[in-house]
């Protein structure tokens, strides 16, 4: 009983209910099968989940997951480096400023030419889009560490490793996680786009394929799946933040 009450009172649930109401209203107002009603979509969604939809979701999750990991492996060390060395910043940042706003999506054909039509080119596209976000977020996090804190830890006799382990990394974690959030948002959209080309798996492919044959319920089931993926990814980041930055959540 208690569990049920918790579910009913959950704020997350309330948010979803509002979303469903808006969806249903849109369906009623448009009076067209282009926007199918939520319940019919839900039925299709459940049916498709036991068929191929789960595979499409898995393929996309894998791509975005690998892309995020690679982008972090590149972006975090570079961010830490440019943040703590003025010289590295002077050399690297102008390059980043030029590359950051370039429409990477326009390079997808080039990536496909270089890295093939499969997963690699799609992952590389997403990496090139989010790596700058992570790099700059980390760099700014390092730069924002108060000088006094830096001196205080230095004066304890800390070596370079201790400085990173106990001061710099914990100090930039909150900023790093914010940039991770933004990365997931833009990364998913970029992935969706890339999956429209030369793909036979992935949620982007699934949605556009359903659209092409005018199966709107399937298409919306796909969109629902994309929404669920995004929700899960953001929730995972929230959890990560609670674990890694627990000191930010203490009641004061």
């Amino acid at each position: 009983m208690k569990g049920l009450r918790r579910v009913v009172q959950s704020k997350t649930l309330h948010g979803f209910l509002i979303l469903l109401v808006i969806w249903e209203l849109t369906h009623q107002l448009l009076h067209s099968n282009i926007v199918p009603n939520p319940i019919a979509t839900g039925v299709v969604f459940v049916r498709l989940m036991s068929q191929e939809l789960l595979w499409h979701m898995g393929a996309s999750l894998l791509r975005i997951g690998v892309a995020i990991v690679i982008a972090m492996l590149i972006g975090i060390p570079l961010g830490l480096w440019t943040g703590s060395s003025k010289r590295a910043d002077a050399v690297f940042s102008p390059v980043v400023y030029v590359l950051y706003p370039l429409p990477k999506i326009a390079f997808l054909p080039v990536f496909m030419l270089l890295f093939g039509l499969g997963n690699v080119s799609k992952i590389i596209l997403v990496v090139t889009i989010i790596v700058f976000q992570i790099l700059l977020g980390t760099r700014d996090g390092v730069k924002e560490i108060p000088k006094e804190l830096y001196y205080a830890v230095k004066a304890l006799g800390s070596d370079q490793w201790t400085m990173y382990r106990h001061l710099i990394i914990p100090a930039v974690l909150p900023k790093m996680i914010s940039s991770l959030r933004i990365s997931v948002g833009i990364g998913l959209s970029a992935l969706f786009f890339s999956e429209n080309y030369a793909a036979s798996y992935g949620i982007g492919y699934f949605i556009m394929d359903a659209w092409a044959v005018m199966k709107y319920k399937e298409m919306f089931a796909g969109i629902l799946a994309l929404g669920i993926m995004s929700f899960l990814l953001f929730k995972a980041i929230d959890l990560l933040e609670k674990r890694l930055c627990s000191w930010m959540f203490i009641s004061q």
Partner: protein, 256 residues
């Protein structure tokens, strides 16, 4: 303990310390007082080994100053506790940081080592009366408790030289006196050398065997202080006179 000869320092083109001479004998205390921006914190950073590229000579414990010294404990203007570590972890970092540089990585945290470390931490926590707050984060502490934690971290590594920067400025009158007395007791009990920066003349007289009055980037006057460690009343004539002397030097320094 500290021996400074014609010390000079500039941030870029701005000369913030020039021709500073100062001696602080072992196991004695020195209070530095002076107007805001006169270079007190800069002097402390240099003595802590945090700033390089100064002019002149600085000897600490008989040796030319070369970077951060293991036996120097410092507290900076805002305490410098890490917000993501509890009080206990902050103090442990004091030990850990110094250990690392002495031992090869493979030997660092052995079991009995951890126990000894924990004992040491418990001791300072008790000494400073903050045992109950060991598992709290700095943001959950009052100003006075925070300063106690910062002092604990400076003491836990068996420091012989303490450099404090305005550690009582943000505290209320009673807590301020308590902290001052705590510092005095620890300094006398452990025979520590202490340099403390302050904006309060009373604190300078209470904590400094020497009182160094600074003006813009220079030492204006060094005063030998007979009232160190004594709580005096303004009604005591000689004490009031000393108070006025310090005050006059401060004002003169301010004007120029």
């Amino acid at each position: 303990m500290i021996h400074i000869k014609s010390l000079g320092y500039s941030y870029g083109n701005e000369e913030v310390l020039k021709d500073v001479h100062l001696n602080i004998p072992e196991k004695t205390t020195c209070a530095v007082i002076g107007p805001s921006g006169c270079g007190k914190t800069t002097l402390l950073y240099i003595l802590a080994g945090l700033l390089k590229g100064y002019k002149g000579e600085v000897y600490v414990s008989g040796r030319p100053l070369a970077g951060v010294r293991k036996e120097t404990g410092i507290i900076l203007q805002d305490g410098g506790l890490l917000p993501w570590k509890t009080v206990g972890e902050n103090i442990a970092l004091g030990i850990y940081a110094k250990r690392r540089t002495k031992m090869p990585a493979s030997l660092q945290v052995r079991k009995e080592d951890k126990r000894v470390m924990q004992e040491k931490i418990d001791n300072v926590l008790c000494e400073l009366d903050i045992k109950a707050h060991c598992d709290k984060f700095p943001s959950q502490l009052s100003g006075g408790q925070k300063q106690r934690a910062a002092i604990a971290r400076a003491l836990v590594t068996d420091s012989d030289l303490l450099l404090f920067d305005e550690i009582s400025s943000a505290l209320d009158a009673v807590t301020k006196e308590k902290i001052q007395e705590l510092i005095l007791r620890l300094q006398q009990k452990n025979g520590l050398t202490l340099m403390t920066i302050t904006h309060s003349i009373e604190e300078a007289i209470f904590l400094g065997q020497q009182i160094v009055v600074m003006e813009k980037s220079k030492i204006k006057q060094i005063i030998e202080n007979p009232y160190y460690g004594k709580r005096m009343l303004y009604s005591d004539e000689a004490y009031y006179e000393l108070y006025q002397v310090v005050r006059t030097f401060l004002y003169e320094g301010e004007k120029r």
